[in-house]
Point group: C4
Chain length 296, copies 4
């Protein structure tokens, strides 16, 4: 494996930043998560007037430190991959960018630093460290069957929408502005609040007829809430049964099901095509054939 | 196929209006949906005082344009079918009529144009374009089993009703007018609000005894909410298992299940009896034997 | 069959009142249900101040007419059975008594006529007429399995109770009287309101710490609500599978499952021991051997 | 079995306190539960101002009596076991300590006696008396499968958390302090209130945009509520099916399933290692081999 000094240096960074299986990679990811959490807490504290008045300077400095660190990380991520645009336009790349830029924008637009909370999305990285992806991968059946029932879910949402529009308009006509149903969009909002059993109570029917119709809407909502739950439950049951059946089949074929689980995937990312979840001891990327950096 | 000029002209219209598989039919349906959505948005905007004050003329003109277009469509629908009454008294025919008439009624009755929002029901046509009907048809098992459990659902609604009447009366006696439980119907309304876990809070128990009884009602509601969800979940699971079993049976009979799915139904409507969902390449209506117009 | 004039006269009344399968019995039951509904509506209207002021006399007279009719019915029910105490202390007997007595008590205690709404319980008779009992009987599996899971349900209620007491006390300490958490019982009431996702909002946490704990309680409630639904769903699924398996077994044994359903039970009540649900064409009571009155 | 007087005396106490199968042990446990309930009611009553003003002395005395009895019980529990630290640091030991100490602390810290309500946790002992443990043990399948789906539950909680942070921040930006969304943590609290369908209504969106976003959050919450219910339902169904399958297997193996249930566990605790749930007629502890006291 021939590689010049610079190439080697980039490989190092790539490994630390993009992999979670090596000690240095793990340390990096944990530090990153801590900084993400710290930055979210900073933004939250800043929004609390009483705290912000006392510690404004401190919070502002902390915020800038985190932002600069994130900026460095973002730049390192770009320069350490061979095809930087693959990363930049990947979902994580966009989130990383959006969670770094607000502080710089705050020079131009007041209030834009509140968007920093989008950093919460970066917490999704936790899945990589905890290797949850492997567990989640086990529920492929579930994902497939949820996709299969997406039409049912769409029909359900459509039913909620039409019901809300119809009953929202009726309630607007029955209750009117005097009782808080100022206009049809607000009535529709109230109708969704009622159908979903949230029931804020900021708007509530005052007339006897309005209360009668509301009774009807609530019992309807009671029935509607059963639909998504029923769909999800049924899909969980079915996906579980299929898994059981497959495990059964594996057993009778003489293969212990544990054989199946011992295929280990590591968190290595190909520095060329950015594909991840390579099998342990892979020397070449399963996606583009690029030679993978050996785990140090 | 002998047909005079006029007959041909009507067939054309029939095809454009009633079918969604030809390019012109698809275009018509999409335009129709856009106009329906526009008309609903217009009515909503009109109900918002601040917007209505500024753009009253514009909204009114837009409303009339949509109404006139819908009127023309309604008339074309009637004249292009051989048996117009079949259409007029079909559920879609009634909805089309009710969503067109309110604007004309608004000459005589103030406020009746708000009923225009019934046009939302016309959105159900979207199912036809998206060919969702085919997917829905796949869940025939589900429909059948829900019908089978209708007695359970009735018993459930009956239980909610009796529980509400009994506890509504008790709460009226315990709390009384001073605490917002003005009369028994209002107490029953409050009881349904509580049992369904909506909980607006416009009326809430103030006495210790009332709060104690409310605690009981809420835990009861907790148990009751489980019933419809349980029924629907169980039916979904069962209908799913039946489908699986049938697919299994098909496979073992040497027929691949995909054979089953390749039976395509198109959205053609018979111009004589108004039946739809003919098989592709059908030349005659499966319901009345009338010759179908060939798809252009 | 030897019977004197008086015996015959009592048999007649017994048949009309206690049976729902003969034309006169059916008519009686339907009239009874109408009177029960009328009496409930009367009590409700009386509780609405504006209506009561206008039509007080009318409502009062109507109430007395219904009460006198119910009294006559109650007396006839007692004299037409051989063992009146069996009826008096049956659950229906007690409900009939409690729904008749309040008007008479209103001479002595003001407000006691509101208890008349207990008549709603008499609506349970509707099940007899609609022969729903037969359908309900079909869900014997369900009942059995719900009984089997009663320990799980008890454990669940116990968990809700202990959770409410603990968190109610904590919230009382955190929020205190100033924020509406006046005392521990009221805090516990609030905690149940929150755990069950009812959320009236008459009491709501005001301090930051209180809101943080509330967040925790709500997510807990989210998990707890899953338990009864899960239990009921699972039992429905299991009872459904058992029924399917039995129907399957019946089919393979050469007996069509419809044979099973053709065992008709009628609504005749034995005038001696008050047992009901005799098989059609039974001449003697299956419970005490008393000769049944032939259906006229 | 050689034992001196003192040893015998300690064994006696051990048996009365730690066992629920002997008459004296059962009596002790029932008395204990009554005192726990009494002490909880006392604390509750004390927190109600109107009652406390009238009966302050009485409540205070009652509270001290219970505390002293609990102290004696705690000391007896310690001296009657061979390895007291095993008990002291067991979960029940810690609860017993925490529920006894607050009254003594109240000499030093005002208000600390409210913690006495932690005694509610002692009610968990009821499971021992009612021998519910045996029933719960029957649902080992359930426990195992819930553990198996703990990753799904974690992912779900994580999703709720991230969703709340993101939408909480958005709502803070949209609604602002003027409409009650004072700061981001409060907005997140409101978001959890809405997602869980609790909906207190102490904070509610006032702007049109805020209400539109809320509609979206509520429908999302509707979908999210389906997830834990679906998981729990599916696990109940699966654990039920496994039990059925095992019962089936037992039957076909010629063993009646009732053989299984007749393995009786008693509530005896080993005085050496504190292990419980010994099989009836065991002479030695299954855990440490220590000779068990014969049941008197």
């Amino acid at each position: 494996m021939i590689s010049n000094q610079k190439h080697n240096w980039r490989n190092r960074i790539h490994e630390v930043i993009y992999e979670a299986d090596t000690p240095s990679g793990k340390l990096f990811d944990i530090l990153l998560l801590i900084f993400i959490l710290v930055s979210i807490v900073l933004v939250m504290l800043e929004s609390v007037v009483s705290i912000d008045e006392k510690y404004h300077e401190l919070l502002h400095i902390g915020e800038w430190i985190v932002t600069i660190l994130f900026s460095i990380e973002y730049i390192l991520r770009i320069i350490s991959v061979k095809k930087p645009f693959k990363y930049i336009f990947s979902s994580f790349g966009i989130i990383d960018f959006l969670s770094t830029i607000p502080m710089y924008l705050s020079f131009f637009f007041v209030g834009s630093q509140a968007l920093v909370t989008l950093r919460a999305l970066r917490l999704l990285r936790v899945f990589r460290i905890l290797k949850l992806a492997r567990y989640l991968g086990a529920s492929n059946h579930l994902k497939a069957s949820l996709v299969a029932s997406r039409v049912k879910i769409m029909v359900f949402l459509f039913a909620v929408m039409i019901t809300s529009v119809i009953f929202g308009t009726i309630m607007y006509l029955v209750e009117g502005e005097a009782n808080g149903f100022d206009n049809i969009p607000k009535s529709i909002y109230w109708c969704v609040v009622t159908l979903t059993t949230v029931g804020f109570g900021d708007i509530a029917p005052q007339t006897a007829l309005g209360q009668f119709i509301t009774t009807f809407i609530m019992i309807l909502g009671y029935g509607i809430i059963a639909v998504p739950t029923g769909i999800v439950s049924a899909e969980y049951v079915r996906s579980g049964q299929k898994e059981d059946a497959e495990n059964e089949a594996l057993k009778t074929n003489g293969n212990s099901p544990s054989d199946n689980i011992t295929i280990h995937l590591n968190s290595q990312h190909c520095s060329n095509c950015h594909a991840s979840d390579h099998k342990d001891n892979s020397d070449y990327c399963y996606n583009c054939g690029n030679e993978l950096n050996p785990l140090l």
